[in-house]
Symmetry: C2
Subunit: 658 residues, 2 copies
């Protein structure tokens, strides 16, 4: 039983502010550009072939003259003959999911910014996707085009369930936003096909990349279809449970029964896809970090749906493993590029971090589901940390380039070059042909309202600060005004109805003022939330702690010993060469000094910068010296981490010696 639930996408309407500016960027820049990528029409982007794969799959099933193909081609102003010029499948085995994540982001976007033309474009893409669905409900262009007989024989690498999951999420988002159920029906038929195969026909196995589990739960909630819940539960229950033979390892058993592979993934590695033990027995967050948090999200969601205390306890342990021992200050997770994975407790290298953008999106998903179980601010604190730092850093300020990997230290000449640092780029790369992170940022930003607000039992939860109007389903209407994260005042006006307003007091706000209708109050704070009874007309104002402060790391995190970082509100700051004479490696902080406001940097869109007293160490020319280097006082400048890397290649550091 959920203590509270995320609101649905249409309950929140953004008003002018930080979030709406980002949401508009998604609508105006990211979504159109990605559509061009999907159609291989984007300049500068690698060939994607996503839409062409669907056309080719539809043609393989129904012939080239199929009405949906012809209609789609005419809508795209292509000559019909273009359709099959580039036949066959091209791209990664999970290439389909790019289309799904695009539709999902479009759904959320249409809910807040209706746009007929965009909706028509999405409709026509959905038509061609529907045409690529096999008669039995199967939907995947890789196997449909290449070899139908290989369906469901390589769960380890095949990503069929992963792609289905993304289409289910897209279907729900699009349905919630537009009321149109074409894709929803396609995906219900697909879910039924999967149910038949894995539950009715008892085919052994579970997803190589968790995703469908969390998606099935969304589909269940949108449709009430019990098989979706059962199937999600089935996949979660069988993961990591020993099978007969092959040392009990399902993926190994599966690999022994087939003579082909996609990438040659190591079926023996039970950690990579979190199958080393049944999920209820797991305690450490391990393996591929995106896989991990997608799985944990579904587990937390299912635990609430089914009141499964054992499962929920596992989620709590896994949460603590991440938040208390395996998470960067930026909300990044996954310490190594080797397997894009978690490593071990307190291993948090700044320069060789993976900290994938997608993983921080997934961490937000996990946090929001934990919040549904327990309205405890600690989950929202992490959700906020991940969003305002790693997720936003994933996107260039102009929305045109994206980081997949988010290191906390970058040194041109080493980062992106040394064998150990190949993945840590010093500038956001061009959009990749198969782009997992950009659409993940897009859908997360577009759905921000659903992470920011929740509701339950006459209580309106404000987990994150997002300017706009919220229409809670129990009758309360709320207006939120704020310049957060750069402003620290949040004003809530109850425009209709009444009930309890549960406002989160962040972990970073040690000095918080709360007033109701101009009068200061000291409400009880329970697990990070102030619970305030409200009625129509009430104005609740929150003045959050606006101090920029030094942050220290536990000494168990070896990389940060002797160092401090700077944080103000939700924003972690960093030091870039651009503001600090080109060289940040020689900087150290005076952490006894006050941090003051810095100059505005026009290229960063006028974000708040900070000035910190510190030193520049002038070392000897040689590699090592007995001579104590001189330290010259210098005013250091810090910018929000999410804005780094927007001014060309330069050094960057979050943690400085102090």
């Amino acid at each position: 039983m959920k203590a509270q639930r995320q609101i649905t996408i249409k309950q929140y309407k953004p008003s002018e502010g930080f979030i709406s500016r980002y949401q508009k960027l998604i609508k105006d820049v990211v979504i159109p550009y990605q559509y061009d990528v999907l159609c291989d029409k984007a300049e500068g982007a690698e060939k994607s072939h996503v839409v062409q794969n669907f056309i080719n799959a539809a043609a393989a099933l129904h012939g080239e003259d199929h009405a949906a193909i012809q209609k789609y081609l005419s809508s795209r102003e292509q000559k019909p003959g273009d359709a099959i010029t580039d036949s066959g499948f091209y791209g990664m085995v999970f290439q389909d999911s790019d289309a799904a994540k695009w539709i999902e982001a479009v759904g959320y976007t249409l809910a807040v910014f209706p746009d007929k033309k965009l909706e028509e474009t999405a409709d026509s893409l959905i038509d061609i996707i529907a045409a690529a669905q096999d008669e039995d409900g199967y939907l995947n262009t890789y196997f449909t085009i290449k070899d139908r007989d290989k369906r469901w024989t390589n769960l380890l690498e095949g990503h069929e369930l992963y792609c289905s999951g993304h289409f289910m999420e897209a279907a729900v988002a699009y349905y919630n936003a537009t009321g149109k159920d074409k894709l929803l029906k396609v995906m219900l038929k697909n879910a039924e096909h999967i149910y038949r195969h894995f539950v009715t026909e008892k085919y052994e196995g579970y997803p190589g990349h968790p995703e469908v589990e969390l998606a099935l739960l969304k589909l269940y909630r949108a449709t009430g279809e019990k098989h979706c819940l059962e199937l999600a539960e089935h996949f979660i229950n069988v993961r990591g449970v020993p099978v007969e033979g092959a040392d009990g390892n399902f993926y190994k058993k599966e690999a022994e029964q087939r003579d082909w592979t996609v990438w040659g993934n190591n079926a023996d590695d039970r950690y990579y896809q979190q199958s080393f033990a049944p999920v209820r027995e797991q305690s450490d967050a391990v393996g591929h970090s995106v896989r991990a948090v997608y799985l944990y999200t579904a587990m937390a969601d299912l635990a609430a749906e089914t009141d499964d205390a054992e499962l929920l306890n596992a989620c709590k342990r896994l949460w603590e493993s991440i938040a208390d021992r395996r998470m960067y200050i930026t909300g990044g997770i996954g310490s190594t590029g080797i397997g894009e994975a978690f490593t071990v407790d307190y291993d948090l290298p700044n320069d060789t971090a993976y900290a994938e953008t997608c993983a921080s999106c997934g961490l937000m998903f996990f946090a929001s589901r934990m919040l549904e179980n327990y309205p405890d601010g600690k989950y929202a604190d992490v959700m906020e940390r991940a969003f305002y730092n790693t997720v936003l850093a994933g996107m260039q300020l102009d929305g045109k380039r994206f980081f997949y990997v988010n290191p906390l230290e970058v040194i041109p000449g080493i980062s992106g070059i040394a064998a150990t640092h190949w993945h840590d780029k010093s500038q956001r790369p061009e959009w990749f042909a198969c782009a997992c992170c950009p659409p993940n940022v897009a859908r997360t930003v577009a759905a921000f309202g659903t992470y920011a607000y929740g509701e339950g039992d006459g209580t309106a939860y404000c987990h994150l600060y997002a300017a706009g109007e919220v229409d809670f389903s129990f009758g309360l209407k709320l207006l939120c005004e704020t310049d957060f994260p750069h402003g620290f005042t949040v004003r809530y006006t109850v425009s209709e109805g009444g009930g309890v307003l549960a406002v989160r007091i962040p972990d970073w706000s040690e000095r918080t003022e709360i007033s109701v209708n101009g009068e200061k109050i000291s409400p009880e704070i329970k697990s990070g939330y102030a619970y305030i009874g409200v009625e129509a007309g009430d104005v609740i104002e929150l003045i959050l702690d606006d101090r920029a402060r030094f942050v220290y790391s536990n000494t168990k995190a070896a990389e940060n010993t002797g160092c401090a970082a700077v944080q103000r509100g939700a924003l972690v700051y960093c030091f870039e060469g651009a503001d600090n004479g080109g060289d940040v490696l020689s900087l150290s902080l005076d952490d006894g000094a006050e941090i003051t406001a810095g100059e505005t940097v026009p290229e960063l869109g006028g974000v708040e910068t900070l000035k910190v007293k510190g030193y520049r160490t002038v070392s000897e020319d040689g590699l090592y010296s007995f001579k104590k280097p001189e330290r010259i006082p210098e005013a250091l400048m810090a910018v929000p981490y999410y804005t780094w890397g927007n001014r060309g290649e330069n050094q960057m550091r979050v943690w400085l010696p102090c």
Copy 2:
């Protein structure tokens, strides 16, 4: 033309002191144990099969009844029938080289500690090796046993030239020590075979693992055989020179012509084996670090033999690349386990370092050859740094276990466990079946006298401090008394003859007193050497700077910013959990305080320890905190880096915040 030359092994006789204790350890523990390993008789060691491979190769060539086999088996007290019970080849493709490095170490050892029984054992091993040589001079058990037709078709991975090189070094060492030339003749015949194949018959290609080049130069000097010099020159000259076809890449061309592989090495990687450009055009030390320094050693040696200024300039650039930008304070080289390789300038991670023991041995070889070109103390400084820190750290104090990898920070729970730290063990492993590092330490320690002393044109060079008697070939006899590296007085007595004594003044000794016959002198110091005219009876005393001091790293080395290390004389110190309450991550240094003598640690054999004022940071429980952690003053204890890891698993750090 060499400015001075290493002395040969018999010119130095150790007297009681630090070096002789290590040399005795090699003789009493390492050499007997390794011989048992080679014969698969060592308890606890993995199967080696080295000697059996030679028996099997000899049997393949001459039949099981061959006299050498029978004689060897009876000498080992094995029943003749044992010989072929384990037929075939077993082990790494370069397994033979273990026998070679053992014989080399035995040679050096016999030169200083004659031992009839050990010599007989070595003789009998040499007999069986000789019996495994093919009629045409070819010597390699892998190809002789497995497939003669594949000889010389996989220089990339096959290690035939590498193994030949080690046997040439062994042959010269054994001949110099014992005067016995059986192995020398075997290897001259082998060299002639290689010369015929690569020079006379113009077979394209060069060693996948440089080694034979430096060995051929030793063989040339021991025998005067011109073909050895020519062949070394040939291999050095053709490396990296574009071939016809295969993008000019010899290894790729070779790979295209064969249908088998040993490990599937990437023939496209031109950096791994330093073939990205002709050697005279190379400037950055790249690729597999042992391969690199073995190659540079040969280049520096050849440049002196042939007065090749262009080659020597390349050596100088490569030296600077290492010593000025790519070397740990411990003299370790190779920053990554990925390819056991150099990375890029100033990339010197402490916790994920590779810093292979063998690579530091190789760095000593390179330094000693550069010294032969230029008697400049900077080369000896690095040679000393590598020896007293990384090379010695490679061996447990009891001589029974060995580090291959020498990190500068170890955290149990991360080191050896995280995917990025798999190679950085927190304790010295058992002897591996194929043991490259232990015999490399053995031969380097056993031949220490040849690195310590050199001679040229009436000048006796004292590069390193090693107690003992040196018999310079121009008639000067010198007695050196010292407790170095723990004592700082070095006394030289000229017992016979006269000339110039060139005594190195180390870079770390800023305050050095020199006296002759009790009278202080201030001789001219030229490139790090004091040149003093001496005659029989003279006593020259050197009092070196015995201060323990803090060392600072160039701020370009990101890993060490805000930190200091501690060094006294040649010894770099480290902080271990064993002496510091189990936790060194929370320690920081007061680098304004004096460093004093620490308590004796009996388990470390009474080495000098140091006491440093510092602090223990008591951080909050959580991962991150705004609260400035308390720093409690504490007396920290440091031990020489070479002694670390001798007291069970614990944390270790060389660099501490200050």
